[in-house]
Subunit: 153 residues, 2 copies
DNA sequence: CGACGCATGTCAAAATGCTGACATGACCGA
DNA sequence: TCGGTCATGTCAGCATTTTGACATGCGTCG
């Protein structure tokens, strides 16, 4: 069987709650909850805000691009985009001029809504990094990247 | 609550992908995917494995306890527990003897399944912390904890 | 004792996300 | 030119999760 690894724990970790994965999941869950609460006042969900932020930064992103950027499937991203379009926050051409990708763009209303919500989200992030020494932040980001890449990206 | 950081952003971060939240979400998504793939061979989902691990560590946990431990609602945890019970991996008394909480316990089959899957999960975690200097791991865990606590836990 | 708050388990309905599948259009190598 | 390959958008079905609500049991305080 797969018992070739005698499970040599590099570090004791007799408690599951000591594992990196558990902590990671816990922090991500806390962040998700805080963002949900912060965005509710602005009438946005986390996936919606993520798409808006991505589109503000790089206008013309396609549905598949946004799906990759928000770590969901194309189908889920399509639902989000449809909702944003119905709300008048983004526009998408009915037909593609080049390939099959439909480039999405923020409407003035979308930009306005994003700017309003951005303050709340940034406040959450600022609150989150409270307690983390500023000089250790780069190392933290680097470690997160290293872990992501080690998992096959 | 003195704003000792009057400077708008302590670090530029003109790009969303530079934000801590984005990296955190990305790493958590990668971990979730890797764990899904690793557990599929053992016929378990991530929530199921989480419950099994928690129950192995602290037998007698109630449904609500497991919900809190896996960061989901009681209803979701109930579905997971029902599935584990149908699979014969856990047992739960039909009636509560003290309060209303029904203490769950691993069956021998559940313990065996958990031990088999644990190797795969630990391998994923070991692979994830590849690239992260071992001496910086404690700081990483501490930072994750600090961020979680700062978000109100 | 009795009422209230609180936690728990559970049901029903809705929202959300994913898997599988299909058709279309661009790109590339033979 | 043509055939294969890949990426995209979209549809349908299913699984998972959440929201909202309700009943039950315990503890506490009046």
């Amino acid at each position: 069987m797969t018992e070739r690894t005698p499970v040599p724990p590099p570090h004791p970790a007799q408690d599951v709650t000591e594992h990196v994965g558990y902590r990671l999941k816990r922090t991500a869950a806390a962040l998700r909850g805080a963002m949900d609460r912060a965005l509710r006042e602005h009438g946005l969900t986390v996936p919606q805000y993520s798409c808006l932020e991505l589109l503000d930064e790089r206008p013309g992103l396609s549905n598949a691009d946004l799906a990759r950027g928000t770590f969901v499937t194309r189908q889920s991203a399509n639902v989000v985009l449809r909702g944003l379009g119905d709300a008048g926050l983004i526009t998408r051409p009915a037909t593609a001029d080049h390939g099959r990708a439909l480039p999405a763009h923020l409407t003035p209303a979308g930009r306005e809504r994003l700017h309003a919500a951005r303050g709340a989200v940034y406040a959450v992030e600022a609150r989150m990094i409270t307690g983390v020494p500023a000089d250790r932040l780069p190392a933290l980001l680097a470690d997160l990247d290293a872990m992501t890449e080690a998992l096959g990206d």
